[in-house]
């Protein structure tokens, strides 16, 4: 075999690999997640209805609005800020598909950074999708990156200078939807997305904004509610109630640092009348010391390497043989939001928000998540949407 033949064979092999991978990347990017909105849906708007900053962009998300029959407060739920944290959009979607507002309003966005959900994080060997068994079949979601993909937001600046604080952040954080609050109309993709979200929060006169997240067990901000100082009493009481009555692993409460800019718990509270909350739950898939990386780890949250690190007291969250299954993680987020609303109703009765139809912690952990997602093939088509 001469060198030219060898080169041709290598080229063909590399081309075949690229073609196979390319078709999978395309499938990932084009897959649309079905959402069956609850029968109490009032309307679905686009994020660009609030600001043209995202019009025509991949992050022009569906905004699901549920108005209760009785006036009250307004809560905005943000899912999918970091699509490598699947419980964030699952928790939001639990509300989208099940909520029955009795008083007040709920506004849900399942994925605020759709771009980041359209490709996984290079070098992390993530699966492209994750699946949940339901009584009617298997439901599938895109798994993604922490940051918007460079295919939609490139190039990055040499250093990202946060608006309006002027704080310097790592260059890639300009693609991080939780570093670009309160956003900028003429900025890059995530800055524009967060600007539009701030417009939504202000125009809809939101009282509470909840941003769902997950974190590695090695990370100090773990199993906690991070809150703007405006919501300290509500968060403190919710944390105590959940820890004493509901959760096996306590949930803490932390104040949003005033000097750390770009995060929802700081900027939403500073730039609107809303009280901003961010909740974290343990996700072993995010730990760099994890073992085999696959969908099983993502969903079960079981990892023996992370457990070993726990034996050496290197973690901020406990972990044992039962891991941190996706049901438990989602149930914590759903229960946390419901408890925050409950406490807020007591402290600010004029802003009461009463939601029914939402499964409680025990129901989710015992029945699994699949029980709370509806079949898009059998649902009335006017209630089926795609994120």
């Amino acid at each position: 075999m001469n060198i030219r033949t060898a080169k041709l064979i290598i080229l063909l092999f590399a081309g075949s690999c690229a073609a196979i991978a390319g078709s999978l990347f395309k499938e990932h990017m084009e897959y649309k997640e079905a959402v069956v909105a609850s029968p109490f849906l009032s309307e679905v708007r686009k994020l660009s209805d609030y600001s043209d900053a995202v019009k025509g962009s991949v992050n022009d998300a569906n905004v699901y609005i549920f108005n209760g029959p009785t006036p009250g407060g307004t809560v905005v739920l943000l899912g999918g800020t970091h699509p490598e944290e699947p419980v964030a959009n699952l928790s939001a979607q639990i509300f989208t598909e099940n909520v029955h507002p009795v008083q007040g309003r709920v506004i849900v966005i399942n994925r605020i950074n759709t771009s980041a959900s359209m490709a996984t994080r290079m070098g992390e060997a993530y699966p492209r999708f994750y699946h949940i068994s339901t009584p009617w079949g298997v439901k599938k979601w895109r798994y993604g990156d922490r940051l918007a993909t460079p295919l939609h937001s490139w190039p990055d600046p040499e250093v990202y200078v946060h608006y309006p604080s002027g704080q310097n952040l790592a260059y890639m954080d300009v693609r991080n939807a939780n570093r670009t609050w309160p956003g900028r109309h003429d900025g890059l993709l995530c800055e524009r997305t967060n600007y539009a979200l701030m417009e939504l929060i202000r125009k809809e006169k939101a009282d509470i904004v909840m941003d769902f997240h997950e974190a590695e067990l090695e990370y100090a901000v773990e199993n906690t509610i991070v809150v703007h100082e405006k919501g300290q009493s509500v968060a403190a009481m919710a944390s105590m109630m959940l820890t004493s009555q509901t959760f096996d692993v306590p949930i803490g409460m932390e104040f949003s640092p005033k000097a750390l800019h770009g995060l929802s718990h700081r900027e939403v509270g500073d730039h609107s009348d809303a009280v901003s909350y961010l909740v974290e739950v343990a996700e072993p898939m995010l730990d760099r010391i994890r073992g085999i990386t696959d969908e099983e780890l993502l969903m079960s949250g079981k990892d023996r390497f992370v457990m070993k690190a726990g034996e050496y007291k290197l973690l901020y969250s406990p972990i044992d043989e039962s891991g941190w299954p996706v049901e438990k993680r989602t149930a914590r987020h759903v229960a946390t939001l419901m408890t925050i609303l409950q406490v807020n109703n007591m402290l600010a009765p004029e802003k009461t928000i009463i939601l029914e139809g939402i499964p409680d912690y025990r129901e989710i952990t015992e029945n699994g998540l699949g029980a709370f997602f509806q079949n898009p093939d059998e649902a009335p088509q006017e209630r089926v949407f795609y994120d």
């Binding site: 460079p150 190039p155 040499e158 200078v161 608006y163 003429d186 760099r288 390497f305």
Partner: protein
């Protein structure tokens, strides 16, 4: 078989395949690719322990290989464009002009001459984060001056390597710190002072230790070995491209909300255009671009293959196993061994060590109450010192090649560099151990 055994066996397969590749005279890049593919196959077929695991279809396995290859795509773009800029500047005669001027003006002041040579060496690496770029753009010219200063061959190549390593560590662009900070979700902010302090101290120590003593520069000898400068060069012309570069970088910082985001690759290309415009002679753009790609092919290939290898290691749990092995060492043991672990691992994996060890170490040091910024800065100065070590030895090999060094690689060049390396490693270790106190003094 447990998951620990699985990952350990995959690691053994990876190492064995790499060794076999080298034995079969494959180059480092191809040996690494072979080891990555072998690791992937081993991961697919070896038992994975008692816990349930997801099936990995063939197409997904291929997807991991391709996806991993793009992990450092942005870094490769920066390498290519920055090196093209410096190569064009060199081709235009800019580098020769500066070096000749240094020799003419300061030949009888050895210390000043050395200081200016250090400055010339530090700039390319500081703005690109690549020691190889430093060596490939200014290494041979600075080497010529060192020859004229009567610096022996071993010391010359050692000094070029060490200055290149320190230039890569020097802010504003330190790729190890950037990659590890990004992996730990930590802003790349506050690194300039500790990185600057360590890298500049290291570079100055290297320069004066290896070339500080000797007779004054033989100006005529030095000038005769340096390329002639085309007619028309002056300081204004020489400074213009760097002024453009600095202006574009600073404009992004000074007017972040009104100046368009150009990105470093485009900034370097605009700066290259400035070189083309100010050059007194017509430049062969295409030939320089071709040459740039040619000289960077090895480095870029390594970055591509390291991405593949890291993806496979992450997929199979090997990355976790190695990270866990490091972070479960007692802190005192880490203090005493990181100076060795980091350069050796750099020699094996290049930039991939930053996310591999850097991220869990950041988490660990943060938990133990040490300052993660100063600590990471210290590691990020230790890592590039491993660039003369096998199997990759990218910068070391480049230095040897550029200086036409014919002596023994280890007993000549590496042995000569060892005392300086030891000093830099000791200094960095002290920064790491006293990171908390140092951060209070210099700000971390």
């Amino acid at each position: 078989m447990t998951m620990f055994h699985h990952s350990l066996f995959v690691l053994i397969f990876i190492v064995a395949a790499f060794a076999a590749g080298k034995k079969l005279s494959l180059n480092t890049e191809n040996s690494m690719l072979l080891s990555a593919v072998t690791g992937l196959v081993a991961h697919i077929f070896l038992p994975k322990g008692v816990d349930p695991r997801s099936v990995l279809p063939f197409a997904e396995a291929i997807r991991h290989l391709v996806e991993g290859a793009f992990t450092y795509f942005d870094v490769c773009l920066i390498f290519m464009t920055a090196t093209f800029f410096m190569a064009l500047y060199k081709e235009a005669g800019g580098v020769a002009f500066i070096v000749r001027r240094i020799v003419i003006n300061f030949h009888n002041r050895r210390s000043v001459c050395l200081l200016l040579l250090v400055l010339v060496m530090m700039i390319p690496g500081a703005i690109t984060g690549s020691g190889a770029t430093t060596v490939l753009t200014v290494g041979s010219l600075v080497g010529s001056v060192l020859l004229a200063m009567d610096v022996p061959a071993n010391k010359r190549v050692a000094l070029i390597f060490l200055l290149a390593a320190m230039s890569a560590a020097c802010p504003p662009i330190n790729l190890w710190a950037m990659m590890a900070a990004a992996g730990a979700n930590m802003p790349y902010v506050g690194f300039a002072r500790p990185l600057g302090l360590l890298s500049v101290t290291g570079a100055l120590f290297a320069a004066f230790w290896l070339a500080g003593k000797g007779k004054p520069v033989d100006m005529h000898k030095a000038l005769s070995t340096l390329p002639e400068v085309p007619e028309g060069w002056n300081w204004r012309r020489a400074g213009a491209p760097f002024l453009v570069l600095a202006a574009l970088v600073l404009a992004g910082r000074a007017f972040p909300y009104s100046f368009p985001v150009l990105g470093l690759p485009l900034i370097f290309m605009i700066s290259a255009l400035a070189v083309f415009v100010i050059s007194p002679s017509r430049l062969p753009l295409f030939r320089v671009a071709q040459h740039t790609v040619k000289i960077l092919l090895g480095l870029v290939s390594i970055m591509v293959v390291v991405g593949v290898l890291i993806q496979v290691m992450t997929l199979s749990g090997v990355r976790g196993l190695l990270s866990l092995a490091v972070v479960t060492l007692p802190l005192s043991v880490l203090f005493f061994t990181l100076w060795m672990i980091l350069p050796i691992s750099e020699g094996m994996l290049q930039y991939a060590v930053a996310p591999l060890f850097g991220v869990p170490l950041i988490m660990l040091f943060n938990m133990k109450g040490l300052d993660p910024v100063v600590s990471l800065a210290a590691w990020s100065v230790m890592w590039p010192l491993g660039d003369c070590l096998p199997p990759t030895a990218v910068v070391g090999r480049a230095a040897v090649m550029e200086l036409d060094f014919e002596g023994d690689y280890y007993r000549g060049f590496v042995k000569t560099a060892l005392p300086v390396m030891a000093f830099i490693l000791l200094l960095s270790t002290l920064f790491m151990v006293y990171s908390k106190e140092i951060s209070q003094v210099i700000g971390g």
